[in-house]
């Protein structure tokens, strides 16, 4: 390929993303105008509050953490040809396990408590991912349904714990008591309020990349996802690879739950995940199932989340509007791809 053609090829990949982003911002401006706000001012505020200030950037980093971990969880599944729609449930399962560990170890030294709390989160998510994993591997049951159903089970479990045994009686809400200080994640950038979770998420992105492209397991998983029958003929243990991918996927989401508890809320709350799992699916598709590309995609979604949060306060834009904008971004992208494919 000549350099000119290569440049054109790169441009062809980039312009749909730029177009989708422009359409999303225009949509957001239209929504703000519809609700009686000043669209130009709102968009400026959106950028300022998410990327244009230290505190905003800190918030964006904090939101990037669960979104990136969640999308890595989805990517791991997608590479093996399975859809993990249960990231939200696994986040909650990880958060429950992390909170429980923090309460149990309330007297331990900091150096030991925090790692155990994070590992408990990983384990909680892995347990939540293992049921769909086992059912898929052993009985061929679609992971889509099992993961979704477990989302509901996890939410009710959190509701029970946060209003029942772990409830903070002074709060009067579905909130648990605070975890002990030894179990909290340190700040990375204290002035901006950014905790160290982003480092864990970035390390996880590198880890998933390594797992997928540099290990036998990753090779087998990708083979299972690309062409299961060919992989099976080639001697790949397809079912085991896919089942394990769901367990690992759950563990990553569980870590996100643990980080939300120990780095951000310092307790278990019912609304811990405002749909991170759903956004994670969109991010995974947007980043073309690539763990490294998921980093900027997750950060973009996080900035949008933080920015629309400020619009929620200023013009009363509902929190759900961010779902519309994010989904439209992906629909535009899928449409441009579709148009290029030509007639059926």
């Amino acid at each position: 390929m000549t350099t000119e053609a290569a440049a054109r090829g790169r441009w062809q990949v980039v312009w749909p993303y730029a177009g989708a982003l422009a359409i999303a911002l225009a949509l957001l401006a239209a929504l703000v105008a519809m609700l009686g706000g000043d669209a130009a001012q709102a968009l400026a505020g959106l950028v300022r509050s998410s990327l244009g200030s230290g505190a905003g950037l800190g918030q964006t980093f904090n939101k990037t953490t669960p979104l990136l971990l969640g999308s890595l969880a989805v990517i791991l599944g997608l590479r093996g040809g399975v859809f993990n729609i249960g990231v939200d449930g696994q986040i909650y399962a990880g958060a429950v396990a992390a909170t429980g560990a923090a309460f149990l170890l309330s007297t331990g030294p900091k150096g030991a408590v925090l790692p155990v709390v994070l590992l408990a989160g990983l384990a909680g998510g892995a347990v939540w991912g293992s049921l769909p994993g086992v059912l898929r591997a052993r009985l061929g049951v679609s992971e889509i349904f099992v993961t979704v159903m477990l989302n509901f089970v996890a939410v009710f479990l959190v509701e029970y714990l946060s209003t029942g045994p772990w409830n903070d009686p002074t709060a009067g809400e579905a909130i648990t008591r605070a975890i002990p200080p030894q179990a909290t994640l340190p700040y990375l950038w204290p002035r901006a309020g950014a905790h160290a979770g982003i480092l864990l998420a970035l390390a996880a992105a590198a880890g998933v990349w390594w797992l997928l492209f540099r290990t036998v397991f990753g090779y087998e998983l990708r083979a299972a996802g690309d062409n299961p029958s060919a992989a099976l003929l080639g001697g790949v243990p397809v079912r085991r690879a896919v089942g394990l991918a769901l367990v690992a996927s759950g563990a990553l989401a569980g870590l996100a739950g643990a980080v939300e508890v120990s780095g951000f809320h310092y307790r278990l709350i019912l609304g811990l995940s405002p749909g991170y799992g759903m956004m994670a699916i969109l991010i995974a598709v947007l980043s073309r199932r690539h763990p490294v590309l998921a980093v900027p995609a997750a950060m973009g979604f996080a900035a949008l989340l933080v920015g629309t949060d400020s619009l929620q306060r200023s013009v009363g834009l509902p929190a759900s509007a961010v779902f519309v904008v994010q989904a439209v971004v992906l629909l535009v992208l899928l449409a441009t791809e579709g148009v290029r494919r030509g007639a059926p």
């Binding site: 929504l31 519809m34 609700l35 859809f83 729609i85 049921l131 059912l135 009985l139 061929g140 049951v141 679609s142 889509i144 349904f145 099992v146 979704v148 159903m149 477990l150 509901f152 089970v153 009710f156 479990l157 509701e159 029970y160 209003t163 029942g164 749909g275 759903m278 956004m279 699916i281 969109l282 598709v285 009363g316 509902p318 929190a319 759900s320 509007a321 961010v322 779902f323 519309v324 904008v325 994010q326 989904a327 439209v328 992906l330 629909l331 899928l334 449409a335 791809e337 579709g338 148009v339 494919r341 007639a343 059926p344």
Partner: protein, 312 residues
């Protein structure tokens, strides 16, 4: 606690009423899947249908308009889905999940724009039971089956019509052919693309109506989580019913029974925390699913885009 509780006529009557969203949504999904389209957006479409029904009824004061709005919302989303899946041959689960997220966001957004922020959520009129003549006077059976609101009777009719169309008409035969072997169907002159789009639209209308049944028969209000997984369960019911409308409807009754039972148990038992009872239908779904998968065979071309020029 006595065992009579489990066969209490009022419980069975509630179960029949609660089966409506599941019956309608699974019938709609089944129509699409039989033609080869796997639409996983239906949880979102049920939510959007509920929002459309609630808002139309709230703004215009008419339940009929609410039903129409809900059906239309389903048709529009299904048409978009079909365009991505049929014309652009995009991965159907990906498009479905994206539309699912879009529908959830859109529902709350529309609610916020139309209703605004209020201290107490507004309510719309719910459907009243219609006692059918003659059969309504039967002991027990009359109370359970024929003291119901109109959507119960409608959903029974929908199951019958979908069954007859699929298995007793040439249109149904062509539709199933498009879902089993689109290449062969195309060869003998079946318009696979048009059939898939049409079945998506028809199925979408049913899924939208399933959404409408939630505010109109169960809640009277709209909340973000109103669908409560019913769309996903409907998707499972299609497998449970082996892609037949009667089988899916039977499964819907079973699930609705467990759902209704959970309400009853919560009233009777104070020992078990309510959240564990609320988990029951979802845990039950997973258990049933494991059995449903044994020997299940989906339409051969389900979820696969049809490309005329591609080699088989």
């Amino acid at each position: 606690m006595s065992w009579e509780l489990f066969l209490d006529p009022s419980l069975l009557r509630l179960a029949v009423a609660m089966s409506v969203p599941l019956v309608l949504a699974s019938a709609g999904e089944l129509l699409m899947e039989r033609s080869g389209l796997l639409n996983v957006a239906i949880e979102g479409m049920v939510t959007l249908g509920a929002a459309a029904a609630f808002l139309a009824s709230f703004a215009a004061g008419s339940t009929g308009l609410g039903l129409l709005a809900a059906a239309l919302s389903g048709v529009v989303v299904a048409a978009v889905f079909a365009h991505y899946a049929v014309a652009w041959r995009q991965e159907q689960v990906t498009v479905g999940l994206t539309l699912y997220v879009l529908c959830l966001g859109l529902s709350s957004l529309l609610y916020r724009v139309v209703v605004g922020v209020r201290l107490t959520p507004p309510r719309v009129e719910t459907l009243q039971p219609v006692v059918l003549p003659v059969v309504g006077r039967l002991p027990v059976v009359g109370e359970v089956l024929f003291h119901q609101h109109a959507l119960v009777y409608l959903s029974a009719a929908v199951v019958a019509v979908v069954h007859l169309v699929l298995f007793r008409t040439s249109l149904g035969l062509r539709l199933r052919a498009a879902g089993e072997n689109p290449v062969a169907a195309d060869t003998v002159g079946v318009d696979v693309f048009r059939l898939r789009r049409a079945s998506a639209a028809a199925g979408g209308a049913l899924v939208g109506l399933a959404g409408a049944s939630l505010p109109f028969t169960l809640t009277g209000t709209f909340t973000e989580g109103i669908a409560g997984g019913r769309g996903w369960i409907a998707l499972m019911l299609v497998i449970f019913g082996r892609w037949t409308p009667v089988g899916a409807a039977a499964g819907a009754l079973l699930f609705a029974y467990v759902e209704a039972l959970q309400f009853k148990l919560a009233m009777v038992s104070r020992a078990v925390p309510p959240q564990f009872l609320q988990m029951l239908p979802y845990a039950f779904a997973v258990t049933v699913l494991v059995r449903a998968y044994r020997g299940a065979r989906a339409p051969e071309a389900l979820g696969k885009p049809y490309h005329r020029e591609a080699r088989a």
